[in-house]
Symmetry: C2
Subunit: 209 residues, 2 copies
């Protein structure tokens, strides 16, 4: 086992530290967040979208205001609206480059050749190429003072998903729509199911070897 102490982490080269600490939490979700504001449409990739609760249906993600993408935050605050769009294998490269620091007024949709799409009465653009997308209403932004980041919380107003992914009990087969996982800052992965276990009950505990 290799070990890294708090002191070694702090004194490491900045890029090494960024890569290491972005890797240790394990595989991460890959989602594109779409917004629209006075400077037009914006799109940015996030690897921190996390489940907060099913009833009400809430998702959250971490945002660092000091860095890109600044438009996304401004637009969300103005319109209380954003979209979350899954990243599938076919679009990983385009999705990755939405993280470049484009000038104000440049749409990442155009720059990265992804197609804006409007569905229902959602103010914000969806990604047409995405096979699982959600209209979100901004509910709350919680400041995390420890490191000047924010937990952005939205409620799900609508889910649009390719029918091949929908199973009888509500579980989505993310594999069927080629959803990818991220590790670190820039590694993309395809995924294969190896286990599907029932809800864990003490009375139904298997015998482990």
């Amino acid at each position: 086992m290799k070990s890294f102490s708090e002191e070694e982490i702090q004194s490491a080269d900045k890029i090494f530290r960024l890569n290491l600490i972005n890797s240790v939490s394990g595989y991460k979700s890959a989602n594109l967040i779409g917004t629209k504001g006075e400077h037009g449409e914006n799109l940015a990739i996030f690897s921190s979208v996390v489940h907060l609760g099913a009833n009400p249906a809430l998702l959250g993600f971490i945002m660092r205001p000091a860095s890109v993408p600044r438009n996304t935050l401004t637009n969300m605050k103005e319109t209380k609206s954003f979209t979350i769009n899954s990243v599938s294998e076919e679009i990983i490269k385009k999705a990755h480059y939405t993280s470049a620091n484009f000038e104000l007024g440049v749409s990442e949709f155009s720059a990265c050749k992804l197609t804006p799409e409007y569905l229902g009465d959602c103010h914000s653009p969806f990604v047409q190429e995405s096979k699982l997308k959600m209209a979100m209403k901004l509910e709350q932004i919680i400041d995390i003072e420890l490191n000047d980041t924010m937990l952005v919380i939205g409620s799900i107003e609508n889910i649009y998903v390719d029918e091949v992914a929908v199973t009888d009990n509500g579980q989505l087969d993310l594999n069927a729509i080629d959803t990818v996982a991220i590790s670190g800052l820039n590694r993309y992965h395809k995924v294969e199911e190896i286990g599907n276990f029932p809800y864990a009950r003490v009375s139904e505990l298997p015998i482990f070897e």
Copy 2:
């Protein structure tokens, strides 16, 4: 495309809704959180561990106080200490069943045949079978009043990782240590890298077809 409106989600069967809303965020990290308190050692699986920042090195995860695992929260508050341990292919079944609602005083390590291990001066037990593990110091618990959950924030005091996963630039090769991803409530996946892109710069934008 199949669509689910807010009303359809709210009026859906509870299990269907739980499965669906736990699926929509995409692939999730799989980690075991270890603690020790007055009732002994505890271990619980979490799929919400998320990167908060690299300097200081902070991770967070979502906890619902109303449900299991209650001991984990009590122990963390008492001792300000916990461990985060990655889940690899070999231990997915054991890891999954740590989520059963065991009685107070029952150690999930014993019940699920995982081995507690003590490293350095960390108060909390690590999972010996895990190939990437961290000693964490509890920094803050932020209440999320929208649905009575909490964002638990810890700082990384020590990282222990199998050397095969460490690369020159600090990125961890999570594949090399068989780390799995979770989707929904109970699906486990192995993962294969399909892309590794550089830091995205506007001046180095590829030509997309």
